[in-house]
């Protein structure tokens, strides 16, 4: 029962904060809504018993990525008139209603397809592998280090390239 209540609280939080990200005119307000969305999503991840990923979500997204966004917003220091007015053009209305309709169709398709695919009782690995610490540091770490060592190392290379690339692109003169 607690899971049900928490899921709806977190899900509504995610959807509301996500809507605010898209809706807010001021990028700083959007960035703060994005922090809220990331925290609510971390809650959803805990409900999925992905504890390690929830902690990483808070550290990397709500910590590092958000600091980067807020820092860039401060750096650009956009004036109010540079933000432009919220305008409703015909294309915007058509586009957003197309996406809403697509979402409704997708939700219906997901529901019907899953009802066909998940026949019988749904397997819940969090319950099956609770002894092995499903989603915890040890279990995910062994999946990561025993079977995905090469991608893991390539990720470190990717981050290095991103650091160097970001500095070179953003800096005017080297």
């Amino acid at each position: 029962m607690a899971e049900t209540i928490l899921f709806y609280v977190f899900a509504l939080g995610v959807l509301f904060a996500g809507f605010q990200v898209v809706w807010q005119r001021n990028p700083l307000h959007a960035a703060l809504s994005l922090v809220a969305a990331f925290f609510f999503l971390a809650g959803i991840y805990v409900l999925l018993s992905a504890h390690l990923i929830a902690v990483l979500q808070v550290m990397v997204y709500a910590g590092a990525v958000m600091v980067l966004f807020v820092f860039v917003i401060m750096l650009l220091n956009l004036k109010d008139e540079e933000l432009g007015q919220t305008t409703f053009t015909a294309w915007k209305v058509i586009g957003s209603s197309a996406i809403v309709i697509t979402l409704a169709v997708a939700g219906f398709t997901i529901h019907t397809t899953l009802s066909k695919v998940y026949v019988g009782p749904v397997r819940d690995l969090a319950r099956e592998q609770a002894v092995g610490g499903f989603g915890g540091l040890k279990a995910v770490g062994s999946a990561l280090y025993l079977h995905s060592v090469l991608p893991f190392e390539i990720t470190s290379l990717l981050l290095l390239v991103a650091i160097v690339g970001a500095v070179i692109v953003a800096k005017g003169k080297i």
């Binding site: 959807l15 390690l52 540079e82 996406i99 979402l103 899953l114 995910v140």
Partner: protein, 113 residues
Amino acid sequence: MSLTQIGPHHYLILAAALFAMGALGVVLRRNALIVLMSIELMLNAVNLTFLTFSRFPLVPRSPMQGGFLSGHAAVFFVIAVAAAEAAVGLAIVIAVFRSRISVNVDEFDSLKH
């Protein structure tokens, strides 16, 4: 699917809604910073799908060597790539802002002509 018993359906429909919201932001907003934020939302929706299928698997045995927890490993990589993407994307926004004094994506049309 029942409303009170939370199962894979709930998480997947939430992920679809979040992805649609991110897509809406990418399509509708002109501010490059908010477009980048919407991309982050879409990446998070994908992560949510990975984690859902990792906890509620459809097949009896995982095709991956690491078992079903390789879904969590995939999410780890997506988070790393998203961080790199945010860093490089924001650097590009700064570089373009320096020459155009604008973050409006409609004005970034040099490659169009």
